[in-house]
Symmetry: none
Subunit: 406 residues, 2 copies
């Protein structure tokens, strides 16, 4: 008998019909002889609705009260799913984050899990019940209700799977798994059967939207196997595990892209120690989420530092840099919003030096100019013109033989 944690996202439980479909899937899993613990998100767009309501009522929106408000969404969903399970003869018991033993810090709206003590969840399992746990919530050490942030239900599921020594944590979503690239751009994109945590982390960081990065990091640290799969077709999805010894052959597993990026160039700064530290400390103080960072080779004792940020933070980054022009002796700051990044991900890349060359050659063969390059052990990312990014994704997906049936 295996213990499986099943997490269902908002679109999976958006309406009463979907609630019943999810209950049926849980019932099927039980009939196959498994024990199931369920983690559930708020229904459909409810979290957005609650945020809008808060904005209509208040301009200050203190974090403690926001968390009390937002967590009402998962509470509704978990109670309704438990009822739907009772209807098909499954004894189910809902638990809030607090009841499920999620102890967090007091960083309201974005709390961190300190400890999971799932005593009541264990007792329910031992009594033959299905525990249905509200995702993304907990109780702080000073006994206030906390919210783990958007996408926190994935983290709840992974943390619970770890605490309960579950065999696997199934993350149900509205796509059937992790793909070699965005199927809306490349119609021959292929679902990946098996991928490593590191690769999935790089994919998430470079534009692949699911699952929440934080939950993958948690799973990687604690060795919790993930299964990313569809709550609509119920077919087998993508298994995410620790790097497999025989993965060395699998050179390239995916091509990702991100169009929500702007490029900021801090030009002509003196090439001596401390400049970059000062710059990125200032950006961090403003809460700016810097992604790629590139510093060009020095010319005449001066250098350019270029980095990318989300579109929404571009003007703040621009302003922050401009205030440093005098202090750091820079020549100019420029922002370019018409860019996008394309990334090639693969665990075997580090021992295959030809990969980078093949990426650059492929883009060149398609007349796509590369404006920035950034690499990690398992990723190569290039910044290109925004209007060329679909073409870049298609070319790279084909060049690395990722097309379905290839």
């Amino acid at each position: 008998m295996s213990l499986i944690v099943q997490k269902f996202g908002g679109t999976s439980v958006a309406d009463p019909e979907r609630m019943r479909a999810v209950a049926d899937q849980i019932g099927r899993t039980l009939r196959r002889g498994n024990q199931v613990v369920v983690v559930i998100s708020a229904m459909g767009k409810e979290t957005d609705d609650l945020l809008r309501l808060a904005a209509d009522v208040s301009t200050t929106r203190p974090g403690r009260e926001m968390d009390m408000l937002i967590t009402a969404g998962e509470r509704k969903a978990m109670a309704l799913l438990s009822m739907a399970l009772h209807d098909i003869g499954v004894r189910a018991t809902s638990f809030t984050g607090s009841q499920a033993g999620f102890i967090t810090d007091s960083s309201h709206t974005n709390a961190k899990i300190l400890e999971v003590r799932p005593e009541r969840v264990r007792e329910a399992l031992e009594a033959g019940e299905v525990p249905v746990v509200g995702g993304s919530q907990g109780v702080s050490t000073d006994l206030n209700v906390t919210f783990l942030g958007r996408g926190g239900s994935d983290t709840t599921a992974v943390a619970l799977a770890h605490a309960l020594h579950a065999e696997v944590c199934e993350l149900y979503t509205d796509v059937s798994g992790v793909f070699t690239t965005d199927p809306r751009i490349v119609d021959r994109a292929r679902k990946i059967d098996h991928i490593s945590f590191d690769e999935l982390l790089e994919m998430t960081a470079s534009g692949c939207p699911k699952p929440a990065m934080r939950s993958v990091e948690y799973a990687r640290t604690h060795g919790v196997d993930l299964h990313v799969r569809s709550a609509f077709t119920w077919e087998t999805g993508t298994l995410v595990t620790k790097e497999d010894p025989d993965m060395e052959d699998a050179i390239i597993s995916a091509v990702t892209h991100d169009t929500d990026e702007a490029k900021v160039r801090f030009a002509g700064v003196p090439d001596h120690p401390g400049i970059a530290g000062r710059l990125f400390r200032a950006l961090a103080s403003e809460g700016i989420n810097v992604d790629m960072i590139v510093q060009n080779t020095s010319e005449d004792g001066h250098t350019d530092i270029t980095f990318t940020v989300p579109h929404s933070e571009a003007s703040l980054a621009d302003e922050t840099c401009r205030q440093l022009i005098g202090e750091l002796g820079a020549k100019d700051v420029s922002v370019d919003e018409q860019i996008a990044s394309v990334s090639v991900i693969g665990a075997g890349m580090k021992s295959n030096p030809g990969v980078a060359a093949k990426v650059f050659e492929t883009l060149a063969a398609n007349d796509i100019n590369i404006e920035m390059i950034s690499t990690s052990a398992i990723r190569i990312s290039c910044v290109v013109r925004e209007e060329q990014v679909d073409q870049a994704v298609q070319a790279l997906h084909e060049a690395f033989g990722l097309h379905a049936g290839a």
Copy 2:
């Protein structure tokens, strides 16, 4: 400094605008030097919506899960009201029934309160905060979330007022108090200022819809004074207390005064039905707290309507009236801030017709001119010049033999 429990029903907090109006009323209560504990119901028809959702998902609807679902409604409302309070500079902290110390039995959907241990509510008060407690909810002795049933927020408020030794429990609703009969049937129905628990229980049992009978029973058992009042006009409602055995003898119990009043005179309006209703609806929509209202005897088919409001609302009342001059065919609006009211209070007044005459004679003998008179069954109020109010209080206090040792 008095401690007041204020309970707001669903229609009182139906939308963001009403949330802010309720926050303003709490702010006004604090500014008068009181401590406030708030109990809140789910917004508008939310409880009905949640029941409908449950019916769409499930036919079995187990009680434990129904309670988890339904209590999400109050949770949303209490968080939103706390945010609205923060917006007007009031430090507020929301508490679930469990956090507020409501221990109940396990009769889901209709749980009974076993004990109230409001430690966290007390701590919040001591820290100078306004606790905002979710109504109609608690935690059972086996640590499950429970719902006290429809109308349970009144009971929450009364139980909390008792546990905290509050001076009064104010039950805000969509009518302005307890009436002599249903005002929709008899347009001369009169709101009752002060009534005994026994009388109100009899009225509730025979069709008077508010407040929830269970809460009145609780208040009667534990001697918690209730104030049933409107969350729309904010006018004084009905006080419900234990019947005083020697009420008949005690003719006059107190002389009070209020210097925070301004007199607004809406002069020369046609003396026909609907004028006063239109005027005071407009004032109410602006959140103006009207106290005394006097309509003079009609002369030549025209009349004056005079009323008092707090100083802080005088200019808004003036402006609101001026906008109605054309529509209501009035001659003029004037505001006089140099007034004060003096009142004589006494339960035995109704059987002693000489009381009013004695009030007027006493003031005349002291050369104090009466500008407005307003009476109730147990109160006679007069508006006088502000500089004469101390003299008026002294004279009446002596005339009615209230002096110590008299």
